[in-house]
């Protein structure tokens, strides 16, 4: 089977898995309602949904459009089922491709990205399952005030390491979006809660600056 055929089969499996997952996700509230004979009022669900849907449906669309090229085919189907895409699956895929010195969009990139995302999903699922099983014993440790700052700062710890690798190799491309984002977040701190929406802004800036530099022969 050549790579093109392999990708076609990956799409078929991916579609099967992700639509099955969508059905399972929807069955969970249905089963709960049936089991406990507790269908909620339409209005209460609509009101609750109004508080989150406008932002999270937008973020969901943006994430799909921006992260799909980075994740690869199988990685996309897997990541959007298992969740935590921007804070875990994308960094895991990027780190693995960087370490293996393969490029996204190539066969090697697709394989390495899939392996990284699948491994991240399996490890996360196992750890969370262990956490549930050992809930009583682990709760005091997890809620420990000593560990809290460490867990609160996972994203800076992650993007510090990942950022330095990418910036050092692509410093010209990084200048414009990095400078803009740092200044923007310092001036408007409340945007810290809307980082998902700002990812495409960063991408558009990076693409615009790169295109100009490329045309001028600086890249």
């Amino acid at each position: 089977m050549n790579y093109s055929e392999y990708q076609k089969v990956t799409h078929r499996w991916g579609q099967l898995w992700i639509w099955s997952a969508a059905c399972i996700v929807l069955f969970v509230p249905v089963i709960i309602c049936l089991k406990y004979n507790a269908w909620p009022q339409y209005e209460s669900v609509l009101k609750g949904l109004l508080g989150v849907a406008p932002i999270y449906w937008t973020v969901g669309f943006i994430e799909v459009v921006t992260f799909t090229p980075m994740l690869g085919t199988a990685g996309t189907y897997l990541s959007f089922v298992t969740g935590n895409v921007s804070a875990l699956k994308v960094p895991a895929a990027l780190n693995a491709m960087e370490s293996a010195e393969v490029k996204p969009g190539t066969e090697e990139g697709e394989i390495v990205s899939t392996i990284a995302i699948a491994t991240a999903s399996i490890v996360t699922t196992i750890i969370v399952a262990l956490g549930v099983l050992l809930f009583a014993q682990l709760t005091p440790v997890i809620n420990s005030p000593v560990l809290k700052p460490a867990f609160d700062n996972i994203l800076p710890a992650l993007f510090g390491g990942l950022g330095v690798v990418y910036i050092s190799r692509n410093w010209k491309i990084s200048i414009m979006p990095m400078a803009f984002m740092i200044v923007l977040f310092i001036l408007v701190p409340s945007l810290g809660n809307s980082v998902g929406i700002l990812v495409p802004a960063g991408i558009i800036l990076a693409l615009g600056a790169s295109r100009i530099m490329y045309k001028k022969g600086w890249l």
């Binding site: 991916g14 579609q15 969009g105 490890v123 810290g192 991408i203 890249l219």
Partner: protein
């Protein structure tokens, strides 16, 4: 609302059974794609040590974020019991979405989330909002993936060098947004500077790893540099918070 169920326990055996079924599905999908990718690596003639290193380093790299996700389960378990947060944070969800979804529904129903939900109608309403509020994240990928990939292939076919720069720009755009976010609290004094310091320490740890790989030929470190720098950053956060009373 229908309150016909006389007793409701969000930690019931039924709920655990439901959660276990969902978790088995997620694991099965992950194992399926992992095995398929490893087999393809073999067929494509890839060095299998790269595959082993990718699995090892990613597993290590995932530990800290996985514990953070578990922390999210613990947070939600205070009012939703364990099984539902277990389901939600294993499929599609993230704590940054699930908590606002639960809070938004509770506000709409005029109830407090200070104690475990015991009304099944409230529980089901929260479950529906959590599910429907994030549904596009699972519906859109199968609908859009081929169109997005076709667009990327066209860009690369037209000009392969620009295609590579295009992909790098995508990564840089994402990294810049998340790195910029770290600076959003700097005006709050020492407490707000801590994330920036953690970012810098983690970046410095990564640089040290890079130097060790190049100068001392510590090639084994290359695959573990990312989890190592992350852990250094997190340990620093813990120590600095204790030292400065943050």
């Amino acid at each position: 609302m229908n309150n016909t169920s006389p007793s409701f326990d969000p930690d019931s055996t039924f709920m655990y059974g439901l959660a276990a079924a969902v978790i088995v599905f997620v694991l099965a999908q992950s194992v399926f794609f992992l095995v398929r990718a490893v087999r393809r690596a073999s067929v494509a003639g890839m060095n299998m040590s790269v595959v082993r290193k990718t699995i090892g380093s990613t597993a290590l790299f995932t530990l800290a974020p996985a514990f953070s996700i578990m922390l999210g389960v613990v947070t939600l378990a205070k009012f939703l019991g364990l099984p539902l947060p277990w389901i939600r944070l294993s499929v599609i969800g993230a704590i940054t979405y699930e908590l606002p979804a639960a809070t938004s529904t509770a506000n709409a129903l005029g109830i407090s989330l200070s104690e475990t939900v015991s009304d099944p109608s409230v529980f089901s309403a929260i479950t529906w909002v959590m599910t429907l509020g994030i549904l596009p994240s699972i519906i859109l990928p199968p609908l859009l993936i081929k169109k997005i990939q076709t667009g990327i292939v066209q860009i690369k076919t037209k000009d392969s060098k620009w295609g590579d720069i295009f992909m790098t720009s995508l990564f840089m755009g994402m990294i810049s947004a998340f790195s910029g976010m770290v600076f959003s609290h700097v005006r709050e004094g020492l407490r707000g500077l801590l994330p920036v310091a953690v970012l810098a320490v983690s970046a410095a740890a990564m640089c040290v790893c890079g130097l060790l790989v190049k100068k001392v030929h510590a090639g084994w470190l290359e695959n573990y540099a990312m989890p190592f720098s992350m852990i250094v950053g997190m340990v620093f956060a813990s120590c600095a918070a204790s030292a400065f009373g943050l």
